[in-house]
């Protein structure tokens, strides 16, 4: 399945958002995720089914003004 993850194209075997995070070596309580511009809560990542062409954003805390 082809996905866009943080603006970069990826070809992955993962079918859920949780599997994708593991496959790409993302881990930690400080991450927030969105699929196609909508928040996906941490508790829902395991059952969230990804579809070909989905756009995933994986964000973490950063300095801000």
């Amino acid at each position: 399945m082809k996905l866009m993850v943080n603006g970069e194209a990826h070809e992955v075997a993962a079918t859920t958002l949780a599997e994708l995070l593991t496959a790409l070596d993302y881990e930690g309580d400080w991450l927030a995720t969105a699929v196609n511009s909508d928040l996906v809560h941490k508790a829902n990542r395991a059952e969230f089914q990804l579809s070909d062409g989905d756009r995933i954003e994986i964000l973490s805390p950063m300095q801000g003004g």
Partner: protein, 257 residues
């Protein structure tokens, strides 16, 4: 002590966390300023990265209130989704809402701002809207549920200081019971003192401290200026006069002929 939406803050200075020379200087500046609330953001994390974890760990160690922002968002959808992601990560309903409308001035898209504020207030966020000094926009933001307003006094990072004192004074007069925080455009401690003397409840700044030659010293200076301005406002300042008035009593002065 400053009660901001039910949270007691020790200082009326809110501080941004970006652009410091190092994390250690950021931490020292936060302490020197006396602030008890800082702004943070969310950005893309690299695969396998730990940058977010390290920053978040530093901020938590400071023991300050967190005000996440939606900086860089140019649409209602972007801002709303970013706010929801921030709530999940930072565990607070507070959100500094930015919907940028112009690339050059970074002035807010006030129409999108009101719409995003409406959506987030309905979702139980405490929305801190980064807005202009326009009274009508301010009224709309209050109508959709905002309980605090954050007008700019000049473009973000410009260091110009308050460029429209009349508008700020008018805003204070129109919304006497609403917490007003000047956000963006402050360059010097005297700028902060000026808006605090006008009766603003607090200031939020970043660049003027982070990009100073000595951010820690500048943080301390801004902290003092904010306190001085507030105390001056509370103490009743003398109105300007067009004629001289002697300060030394004239009665009893010697007469030399």
């Amino acid at each position: 002590m400053f009660d901001l939406l039910g949270t007691n803050l020790f200082s009326r200075l809110l501080l941004g966390t970006a652009q410091y020379p190092s994390p250690a200087i950021l931490a020292d500046a936060v302490k020197a300023s006396g602030t008890s609330a800082v702004t943070v953001s969310l950005r893309r994390e690299m695969a396998g990265g730990r940058a977010g974890e390290q920053f978040w760990s530093l901020i938590r160690s400071l023991g300050v209130k967190i005000l996440p922002n939606t900086a860089g968002c140019h649409s209602v959808k972007e801002a709303v989704t970013t706010a929801k992601m921030a709530r999940e990560v930072f565990g607070t309903n507070w959100i500094k809402l930015e919907v940028i409308g112009n690339h050059d001035t970074l002035q807010p898209d006030v129409f999108g701002l009101v719409e995003a504020a409406r959506i987030l207030c309905e979702d139980d966020f405490d929305v801190f809207p980064y807005t202009t000094d326009d009274l009508v926009v301010a009224e709309r933001l209050l109508e959709v549920g905002c309980k605090v307003l954050m007008p700019w006094c000049a473009p973000i990072g410009s260091a110009l200081g308050p460029v429209n004192i009349m508008a700020l004074r008018s805003m204070r007069g129109h919304f006497p019971g609403v917490p007003l925080i000047v956000d963006a455009g402050l360059g010097r401690p005297s700028h902060a003192a000026t808006v605090m003397e006008l009766g603003f409840d607090a200031v939020l700044l970043n660049t003027a401290i982070a990009r100073a030659a000595d951010p820690v010293g500048m943080a301390r200076a801004f902290g003092k200026a904010v306190d001085a301005g507030r105390e001056a406002f509370s103490s009743g300042m003398l109105e300007p006069r067009n004629v001289a008035v002697p300060s030394t009593p004239t009665i009893g002065r010697a007469v030399f002929l």
